[in-house]
Amino acid sequence: MLKKLLKYDFLSLKRFLIPVFLLTPALALFAGMLSWISTRAEQPLVTLGLNSIFLFSVVALVLSVALLPVLLVVYYYRGLYSDTGYLTLLLPVKRRQLILSKLLCAFLSITAYIVVAFFSFGFAFFAGSAAAVGRNPFYAYSLFFTLVKEFLTSTPLHPALLAIEGVIYLLVWLLLEFSNYYLGVTLGAVVFQGKGKIWGGILFCAVTDTAVSVVLSLIELAISGGVFGLGDLSAFESPVVLQVFLIVGIVLRLAVAVGVTIINIRLTEKKLNLG
């Protein structure tokens, strides 16, 4: 059933995903080309004009990046608490499958989008300056990967292991973010009625995410402060300490994401309020 739910979630999201996935690289290409042209322009007025357009395109680029998470949260709300909820919530499937499907869908979409956004930003910001010094527009990427490699080899852990753990940490962080947002939407729908559900959802999204982030930061601070002493970063030179610290961070965030999702499922099951 989860597979079928995922199929229809992606089919539905396709309308948003394709434009957003195209918009970001398009804006990046535009910004990168502007930046490259402005490095060649000789008249100050032309440079100023090009830089101004570049600035606008960068703002548009940043907004396009913020668009997908917002669309995914709105999609979750609409799928369960607007009129479409009458279709989805009546399906003979477990409510947890409905929520998991939307969570997985958001997680996979945003993960793919991060790759697109990463390359887009790299091109937008560095293509122009690379070209100005006679390098190819993609020089910044090779520079970036060299820097990452240098960083990875400078730590006491094996570079490949650290890279894998870093990626897992990022993925778990994304999962936790969307778990928080979706719990916020459910809380808004349970507590408020009618249009208030939307504003309540936005409020609870912010509250849930902030609360979870603060609590997690305090726990991590307590662990690093209690175990290693506050501000004493030298402890991280030990591979064991660094390894434990990373694994604790991943496990803690994953556990919280699972916990938050379980609360969300329970709330959706027990307090369903499609009024």
Partner: protein
């Protein structure tokens, strides 16, 4: 078999904030009936249907559909037509049929396709591009193409033209089987009068009357419409 209850609603109460939408409402329906749920606006009809379908959690009381409380299992037995369009505009009728066929084991794909063809609805056009009336017809056709045990229809004929209304009522009668019951909420009593077996009058969330339509008409010497006007006179 006929007397085994299909739906048992016991002491159902639902509060919206402090306002009671349903108060200690009890009702038992047996299979093979077409039951009209009648009451003025705000009497609790939609709330009752939503609780039975599992879209709302009651404040007190219980619901049982063939022994199952509202949940995953009961959703496979109940076909609910909401009072609003729930199928998203991006779906075409074809996709909506595939969606129902994928999730409902009792869905009859051929029946749905025939109904939509009869109604002249293009199967490949996104629903968002169809008129409201057409979308309502698609939704009704999909719901009635299920071989469910209990159909909950919330105002199924209010938004459609008289010709389509006739088709819908005919469809309801066609889809009706001896082991299924249709609970239909409507204001258009005159239109459904001929097809219903039993009726429920509901006022302020309370059960006012539950009776056989034929017996009540014989006893009172009035049509159901007249009885309704008398019971709910402002």
């Amino acid at each position: 078999m006929q007397d085994q209850p299909l739906l048992v609603v016991d002491g159902l109460t639902k509060y919206y904030r402090s306002f009671p939408s349903l108060s200690d409402f009890s009702l038992t329906l047996t299979p093979g009936k077409i039951v009209a749920l009648l009451g003025p606006n705000g009497s609790g009809k939609t709330t009752l249907l939503k609780i039975i379908s599992g879209l709302l959690t009651p404040s007190a009381g219980s619901v049982s559909i063939l022994g199952c409380p509202p949940g995953e299992e009961s959703r496979g037995l109940v076909a609910y037509l909401p009072d609003r369009i729930s199928i998203p505009g991006w779906m075409s009728s074809e996709t909506a049929i595939a969606y129902f066929a994928d999730f409902y084991a009792d869905f009859d794909r051929a029946k749905a396709q025939n109904m939509l063809t009869d109604l002249g609805i293009p199967l490949d056009k996104p629903l968002g591009k169809l008129s409201k009336g057409m979308r309502e017809k698609v939704q009704l056709s999909l719901v009635m193409s299920r071989n469910a045990k209990l159909y909950l229809l919330d105002e199924p004929i209010s938004g459609v033209d008289p010709a389509a209304r006739e088709y819908i009522l005919r469809t309801i009668l066609t889809c009706h089987s001896p082991d299924s019951t249709i609970l239909i909420s409507t204001h258009l009593i005159a239109d459904v009068e001929e097809v219903i077996d039993e009726f429920v009058f509901i006022r302020d969330g309370r059960l006012l009357c539950y009776d056989s339509a034929d017996e009540a008409r014989k006893r009172e010497g009035k049509t159901l419409d007249e009885m309704f006007r008398e019971a709910f006179r402002c």
